[in-house]
């Protein structure tokens, strides 16, 4: 899952980025409106965390421009503006949720999960796929009733695949969702994680689409 964090405050941005990365989200952090627009034009993000008070281009402008271009990118506003009119304006402009600073990191993470879940029309933070159960909040996976230990990135990859069952995802798409700009992408890492997952859940768990990428076969 790749998130765009738009926050001008260096300290909040740093801490928030750290908190999100610890949950295995790939986070791109930009500090003003222009950079946010550039980032949005370049990548397909799964969610945007948007501060409203930004230098240069205001957060609301970024939000309106994003909605004007269409697309259903979930947007969570994080701002110090706590007035009801500001909340109404933000939500009416197309934000999916609104969180007032100072907020609790756990609450923010829960809201992020809720928004991502809504995107793939799930109502619970637990994904069940055959004998596999994935708890997104606690980061625990169980296979045939037994807990399975997964490295964070493998967990993240599994989650991406589970969100799009039956859809072919290119290696490039998977990499984009797994890694932020600032992290080094080693070649074949996606292959390595796919190998790890197959080892745990069986060779047929993930299908290779030759020359394109991978897909999770839809269960009958």
């Amino acid at each position: 899952m790749r998130l765009l964090l738009v926050e001008d405050d260096p300290m909040i941005g740093e801490s928030l980025g750290e908190g999100l990365r610890a949950e295995c989200y790939a986070v791109d952090w930009v500090r003003d409106g222009q950079d946010a627009e550039l980032a949005l034009a370049g990548f397909a993000y799964d969610l945007m965390l948007l501060d409203l008070g930004l230098p240069g281009k205001q957060g609301m402008e970024v939000l309106r421009a994003t909605r004007a271009r269409g697309g259903d990118l979930p947007v969570l506003i994080i701002t110090a503006r706590d007035g009801t009119p500001a909340r109404v304006e933000g939500l009416d402009a197309g934000a999916d949720d609104y969180l007032v600073k100072p907020f609790d990191l756990d609450e923010l993470l829960a809201r992020v999960r809720a928004l991502l879940r809504r995107r793939v029309s799930r109502t619970r933070s637990v994904i069940v796929h055959g004998a596999l159960t994935l708890d997104l909040a606690s980061h625990e996976a169980t296979f045939e009733g037994e807990p399975v230990k997964l490295p964070p990135r493998a967990f993240a990859l599994l989650r991406i695949l589970l969100d799009h069952p039956g859809v072919v995802l290119s290696k490039r798409q998977l990499e984009d969702k797994l890694y932020a700009w600032d992290s080094e992408v080693e070649s074949n890492t996606v292959d390595v994680y796919v190998y790890q997952l197959r080892k745990k859940f069986g060779a047929d768990f993930i299908k290779t689409v030759r020359g394109v990428g991978y897909k999770l076969p839809q269960l009958p």
Partner: protein, 445 residues
Amino acid sequence: MKTMRGQLLLGLLCATLLCVLGAGASLYRSLLEETNELADLQLRQLAAALPNEFAPDTGMPLAQDPEEMFVLQAWDDAGRQLTISPDKPQLPRYAVAGFAEVTVFGQAWRLYGETRRGRYVQVAQPLDVRDDLAAAMALRAGAPLLLFALILALLIAVVVARVLAPMARLAQAVAGRSADALAPLPVQDMPPELRPVVASLNGLMHRFDEALQAQRSFVADAAHELRSPLTALKLQLQLVERADSDAARGEALRKLHERLDRATHLVRQMLSLARHEAALTDGQLKTVDLGRALEAAVADHSALADSRAIDLGVVAPGEMGKVDKVEIEADPDALQVLLNNLIDNALRYTQQGGTVDLQAGLEAGRPLLRVSDNGPGVPVQYRARLFDRFYRPDGNDAWGCGLGLSIVRNIADQHRASIVIDAADRDSGRGLCVTVLFPAASATV
């Protein structure tokens, strides 16, 4: 102080009373004069009217008016008294020819005497009678005057109340206001004399309203600005809790301290801003040597300057003022805060290896402090806003709370000093040069 209504009523009623008394007195005087003339005439006529021959004890027809109390007497040429008014007090023979005033029986009398055909005739009347007569007449004539005076007093009371009604309305309008409702009072409804008062009141309320708005917006701004450091603190605290290794925890704690320092800095700056908003008292003013103040400031900031490899130092006043020492009357603590903020800013926004120069001197008789750097400077369009609270120019990596220059401005205002912001290098527009110009009067040399 007495009420205006009371003073007006008292003054006007006293004036009315004085006028009535004066009118009464002058009426009485003129009536007395008239009475005297008439009575004198009467005396003469009585004397003349005495029959040439009359027997003693002949009643006189004049007795019909006992109030006027005429005493008629006659003496024959042998000096024997011929009593005419038997039941009246008998006066001695004065033997005057014409009018005279005498005092008999402790009473002032007016008498007329003449000698006719050998007989001396004397007619006398007590002056009291005349006075009483005049007083009675004056009272009769003056009674309507008193009534008019009473009506006048009532009218005065009504007029005073009517004239003063706008004052009462104004007082009510002002008293009925809360500190929130500071809309101007209507000026047009007021009499011209009160308009300047209402206009001044409106002006005062306007200034008060502005100050109140400024205060409110500051509180709102402050509440808003406090959220960011608090958010950063809370997030970092939660990251500390989540740290899974000692190394990670140590690093997270270091960052937590950083964020706490920032929150502390913000609160300190807000307090400093508020503290330097009030005017200085004479007790706070001391003689301050600006050169010394600069040296102390350099010593305070040398560690920070070293950490950023910035050359911080004092430069000679140069050609602008060949003086050994510049001393001003100032609050030394406030001046130190001012310098600290200016130097902090310069150190914060100047690149590593830069230079920050401090200068104290005189310019056209005005003492000045100058802090200039060779950093990136501030574009002209942002300079006016630099003094706004919580204003941070875009695109700065250094964190600050945007209050430093607001504090500097407040302290400068306290000392009636002006601040000039310019580029240190005017050709390239680079570097920031802040000059605080104190009024010439504050110099002690």
